[in-house]
């Protein structure tokens, strides 16, 4: 059935190139998480706010981010904005697309975490003389991040895997881009893709293990 002889030597020779690509992949994933988390906090607060003018745009963002494919979001960041004369490089478009997606998902995670923290804590903080923002920042937010730590790391893994969609907007420096490039030159599709899959797996697994370890150390009561 599978009429193909695997040539691993050729693939392993390209390993350094692929590992460089993996670094770019990690870089995009980490940046997209930082940007995504920042916006997610803002979105979560906006969606809980009493003002309709804050709630509506935040809800729209979350709806689009969670209910359309990430591929579409990245494509829009590149070709969609491009048709309005706003040019994002493949790197920027990929980063923007994933950060947008992360923000949508994380804001729901954060909103759930906020629900788990009793309102009385804000009032307690206020009665100690803190401002509203100060109470949120010093009392609520640390708890929110703690409750949502593992789901957040889950999203990080998701972000790492989503970076592979960059090839659709001409990204050629991340792991998927480098792999596609090597594939085009040699037609050794299966070797390079298998190797890339292993690298993605190892990265994702390492992130998950590290977060478990960190959670175990940080959250002991």
């Amino acid at each position: 059935m599978f009429n193909y002889t695997f040539q691993w030597r050729q693939a392993f020779r390209a390993l350094p190139e692929m590992l460089d690509g993996a670094l770019v992949t990690l870089q995009i994933a980490v940046l997209s998480m930082l940007i995504g988390m920042t916006f997610a906090v803002i979105l979560a607060v906006a969606r809980n706010s009493a003002s309709r003018w804050l709630r509506a745009p935040a809800t729209a963002w979350v709806e689009v981010a969670r209910n359309t494919p990430a591929l579409f979001q990245i494509y829009m960041a590149h070709f969609g904005l491009g048709s309005f004369g706003i040019y994002l490089s493949p790197f920027a478009a990929l980063l923007a697309g994933i950060a947008f997606n992360n923000a949508g998902y994380l804001s729901e995670t954060f909103r759930g975490a906020l629900r788990a923290i009793p309102d009385t804590q804000i009032r307690a903080g206020r009665s100690l003389g803190m401002g509203q923002a100060q109470a949120f920042r010093l009392i609520v937010m640390p708890q929110m991040l703690r409750i949502s730590f593992l789901p957040t790391m889950n999203q990080t893994v998701w972000a790492i895997l989503m970076t592979s969609l960059g090839v659709t907007v001409g990204m050629n420096t991340d792991l998927a881009g480098v792999t596609q490039d090597l594939n085009a030159r040699s037609f050794r599709t299966f070797e390079f893709f298998a190797l890339a899959a292993v690298i993605y797996y190892v990265i994702a697994k390492a992130v998950m293990l590290a977060s478990r370890l960190a959670a175990w150390r940080m959250f002991r009561y």
Partner: protein
């Protein structure tokens, strides 16, 4: 009982062993269908007409080959990067997909003798201020990932050390990026360039001279070990030229005189 079972087993083994020795050419003839991997966003080689039916030089070529084999042709739409997976996974029997016959690729797949030859040109926007190939240095350029011209252009951009190269997944994305201004120019085969300008789908595109690349000879592809089929493909390409069908198809799709498929001073 054992006495009867033995010859029955032998008979069964013979029946099973027969088809195992059949090669791809036998399989195609006995199945009655030739499945060709064709790229359908690469006019005039392959595209879809108003009724969404596959048309183009490669489509006609596949139909001719099927007719010669006495079987039905089936067009399997295949993007450029997926040509090899399509062959290896058995979704297609051969690729009629403008595949450049590089030595690197020949390590993986089997090529027929060239069935078509491309020259490459610089396609740019009128407002980009690019008049020839040398003006590409330092600019953002792009092409379809995995094509002959993309590999050559990326190597040039690396050598210039200035500007950048973007590989897109389809020809349509390259034209979109070019017309939007995401990239300033692309290198494409002259046939594709004139076809897209003629179609009027994207305004302001213009050809700015030839690219200084070797003539891009492309072959039919199939699995590397299918010598019976490869032998047949070679003869088929030869016959297409001999009977004038190649010139006829070239005239039909490219509207020009067909270039020679002969490389001078060397065999094959």
């Amino acid at each position: 009982m054992t006495f009867y079972r033995f010859p029955a087993g032998l008979l069964a083994a013979a029946l099973v062993a027969g088809p195992v020795q059949a090669d791809k050419l036998d399989d195609i003839i006995s199945s009655g269908t030739l499945r060709c991997a064709v790229v359908l966003d690469f006019p005039p080689m392959g595209s879809r007409d108003a009724n969404n039916e596959p048309v183009g030089f490669d489509v006609d070529y596949c139909n001719d080959l099927a007719a010669a084999l006495g079987v039905e042709a089936e067009i399997v739409e295949t993007p450029f990067p997926d040509r090899i997976p399509a062959l290896v996974s058995g979704r297609a029997d051969i690729g009629v997909a403008s595949t450049s016959d590089t030595l690197e690729r020949a390590k993986t797949v089997g090529f027929s003798i060239p069935y078509f030859a491309f020259t490459n040109v610089v396609l740019t926007r009128e407002d980009a201020g690019i008049s020839d190939f040398d003006a590409l240095e330092g600019r953002t350029v792009g092409s379809v990932a995995g094509t002959y011209e993309a590999i050559a252009l990326e190597a040039d951009v690396d050598e210039w050390g200035d500007g950048s190269f973007r590989p897109y997944q389809s020809q349509a994305d390259v034209f979109l990026a070019l017309s939007q201004g995401q990239i300033d120019a692309t290198i494409v085969t002259s046939t594709v360039a004139s076809s897209i300008i003629e179609s009027g789908k994207f305004e302001g595109l213009t050809i700015a001279g030839e690219a200084p690349y070797d003539v891009d000879y492309v072959g039919l592809i199939t699995l590397r070990n299918e010598y019976g089929l490869l032998n047949y493909l070679d003869l088929f390409v030869n016959q297409q030229v001999r009977t004038g069908r190649y010139a006829e198809l070239y005239e039909k799709w490219v509207n020009d005189t067909a270039p020679d498929l002969v490389i001078e001073k060397v065999y094959r």
